[in-house]
């Protein structure tokens, strides 16, 4: 992902419909919105609805002359709009349906939103990282991320502390960065 500063020029070009800046903006914030929303929403359709509505509202505000006082606060603005849309989504869901067991947003049958982050090149990099890990660390990662096991229980089984889990993830992330220097959103043709 190309890093760009959110300057007055960037916001003005975004407001005026500059295609290159719009592509960069949507690619940059699509991932961040997905990362945030999948923690609160379990259905892929809800994630996509809230994400699209967030973009629509941000573009509406910027293109209708209600620009930002501080362009460098563009990220905070997107985050705020997303929170508003998310609150409305929860309110609408609670008005229209009885609260289902497990939350307001039952698991949908749509595609897994995380699939956006997966591709063959990245899987190859992950296999290289896994090949170098001791079996114990592979098992820990598997139990946490595939089995969704309680982390304290995993720590008990392997006689490690919670800090071990953080360090394991941190090291894997650093190896991933060395193998794949950028996590560009290639599938969406991001800038």
């Amino acid at each position: 992902m190309e890093l760009r500063e959110f300057t007055s020029e960037y916001v003005q070009r975004l407001a005026s419909g500059d295609a290159e800046i719009e592509r960069h903006f949507t690619a940059y914030f699509s991932d961040l919105l997905l990362i945030k929303l999948r923690r609160g929403l379990r259905s892929s359709q809800s994630v996509e609805d809230v994400r699209q509505e967030t973009f629509l509202r941000v573009f509406y505000v910027l293109k209708n002359g209600q620009g930002l006082a501080s362009p460098e606060k563009l990220g905070a603005f997107v985050y705020g709009v997303c929170n508003n849309v998310l609150s409305e989504h929860y309110r609408a869901a609670s008005r229209h349906a009885q609260l289902p067991e497990g939350g307001l947003d039952p698991q949908g049958s749509g595609p897994d939103p995380e699939a956006e982050f997966v591709n063959e090149e990245r899987k190859r990099s992950v296999r290289r990282i896994l090949e170098r890990l001791p079996p114990k660390d592979r098992q820990i990662l598997r139990l946490i991320f595939i089995e969704d096991r309680d982390k304290d229980e995993v720590c008990r089984i392997f006689r490690v502390d919670r800090n071990y889990l953080r360090v394991l993830l941190h090291r894997a992330k650093n190896r991933f960065r060395k193998i794949l220097p950028t996590t560009r959103a290639a599938s969406r043709g991001a800038a």
Binding site: L32, A76, V118, R122, K123, P135, F145, K173
Partner: protein, 153 residues
């Protein structure tokens, strides 16, 4: 929240491991929407975990399954070795067990026969690591899936 504080507190890792309280999590999200360095760090970590899950699922789909019923006392495995060794040390790592089962077995020609106690093999994926006993060099590793069935088929 400033960038250095997010780094010092390992917030990316703790966010991914769902260790943050709700307010702390919201504070970190607000931060990485503004901080491009933390945004890239979180994006990379999420990408790693998503691909990790995909690779693990593919491995699980591809590995052979071994069924063990209540009457099985032992699991007998015969393995065709890809490299030569006279004495092979076998480490069996099962997902649900903290310590691996470690046994030494003599190779018979190019094959190895293992006689494993069934009660020490919990259901789930297992990794078998074969090492040359004398040099401790890893020869190969195999994965298989233990499936527990209530009655023999």
């Amino acid at each position: 929240m400033d960038h250095q504080s997010a780094v010092d507190r390992n917030l990316t890792e703790r966010y991914l491991l769902a260790e943050l309280e709700s307010a702390e999590s919201a504070e970190f999200e607000a931060h990485f929407f503004e901080c491009s360095i933390c945004a890239e760090d979180v994006r990379r970590a999420v990408t790693l975990v998503a691909n990790l899950k995909a690779v693990f699922r593919e491995e699980d789909d591809a590995i052979p399954a071994i069924e063990l019923g209540p009457r099985h006392k032992f699991l007998d495995l015969t393995i065709a070795l890809k490299s030569e060794a006279s004495l092979v040390e076998c480490e069996i790592h099962c997902q649900q067990a903290a310590s691996p089962i470690v046994i030494a077995a003599p190779a018979a020609g190019s094959s190895l026969h293992l006689h494993l106690p069934a009660d020490q093999l919990p259901a789930g994926p297992c990794t078998l690591i074969l090492r040359d006993k004398s040099t401790r060099t890893e020869l190969e590793r195999r994965r298989f899936f233990i499936s527990r069935i209530s009655r023999p088929r």
